[in-house]
Symmetry: C2
Subunit: 242 residues, 2 copies
């Protein structure tokens, strides 16, 4: 059974300002919840139609009707969990870091977090205007990868100003990424969906890269930020493992 207060808390967590204020976020689906239960993420409350056999204080067995009342999904997937938002660790600049300059689409951010996990990128640094990584739509797209990537929201200009490492950015007029040797450390900056990397951040970029276009002249103007990130992370990593 659900109390009014429980329903109210979960509803609030659909909004970024309340997630920050309350320090909790919502995740749905048995598979993703199980992944997070096995991570360093701390469970606050679990609402489920089938028992996970965990601590009775945090597990609430509820009906499908009740799950529908609290779910953010059109088709709820058996369980909804409220986790504590973890304190991010400091950024480790020994390895390649991915930085996002105002990526706004939740699906893109979720896909990028999953790419970080796949390519072993430990640190993702986001500008304050980048979509919140605890947004339910982002979490849907990460498929549990969120627990394996350390995400910091920072003043990106100040962060890059302090950086002691090369700052890479993708631009149409950059150097062909297939032709140059890429370092194992540094910061790769990806820009906003509509506007790319902003002027302020562009001034901090020390190495301009481009993914060459192979089609005809009249071809597509740009790659989607998530697919461009996939190509660039692949290029940075392909030489490091044989």
């Amino acid at each position: 059974m659900l109390s009014k207060n429980q329903i109210k808390l979960i509803n609030r967590l659909g909004q970024k300002k309340f997630r920050f204020k309350d320090g909790f976020f919502v995740v749905e689906g048995i598979k993703t919840i199980n992944e997070l239960l096995q991570s360093h993420f701390e469970l606050h409350q679990l609402y489920t139609t089938e028992s996970f056999n965990i601590d009775a204080k945090t597990e609430n067995l509820i009906s499908e009707t009740d799950l529908k009342r609290i779910s953010f999904l059109k088709t709820p997937n058996k369980a909804l969990a409220v986790f504590k938002i973890p304190e991010p660790k400091p950024v480790d600049s020994k390895y390649l870091i991915l930085a996002l300059d105002d990526v706004r689409d939740p699906g893109n951010l979720g896909t990028i977090i999953r790419l970080c996990d796949w390519f072993g990128i430990k640190d993702l640094v986001c500008s304050k205007q980048t979509v919140d990584c605890y947004n339910p739509k982002v979490l849907q797209a990460t498929m549990g990868s969120i627990s394996r990537v350390n995400i910091n929201y920072v003043d990106l200009d100040a962060f890059l100003k302090e950086a002691q490492k090369p700052v890479f950015g993708a631009f149409m007029d950059g150097e062909n990424v297939y032709n140059r040797a890429l370092s194992k450390e540094g910061i790769l900056v990806m820009g906003n969906e509509a506007n790319g990397i902003s002027k302020t951040i562009e001034a901090r970029v020390t190495k301009r890269l481009a993914i060459p276009r192979f089609g005809d002249l009249q071809a597509t103007e740009s790659l989607n930020v998530a697919t461009a990130t996939a190509v660039l992370l692949s290029e940075f990593k392909r030489g490091t493992r044989r």
Copy 2:
């Protein structure tokens, strides 16, 4: 002004069966419509709040209220066009061909069409169960690239059976794609979002490829089909242009 028949035709075109029956599809937004007007696609009717200065017989100036009545978007973007579905050209097997085995998500197909355009893949071959490329959500994601990629829906098993070229497929246990020389011709098969490449199609694959995982053991299980396609097309193409 809109007639009842016009509204009815446009509404029908939201469904695949009527698109096939009527031979038309709907595209929205000034930019994409302009791109298609400059392509070999044939305009049937244009409904717009601002004149495109084209043939008066096909251009219908309408109010924003009327546009809202026919648009498939939450926020209509000034114009909606009905184009004829073109007859696809035969597949040209001199170059690398991308084949999709039951890709179901419209956003993924749209992103993949855009990737084909970027990487100069002229032919995209889709299994009959792959989402229809004239689905409005696919068209939203292609950003006009649809006019520059030749798309055939085929019996994929029969198509691959007849193929005279190597058939590549991505599998977890395939050969590290970064380590092997890739040919300029052949067919690269990408699988369904949930199930990957089906058993029937797997039997037609002659070269099994894998994108290696760089993260920890507990890392993400798989890449999204669109990002995996981005990495593989980049690998096939990176050596062909210096």
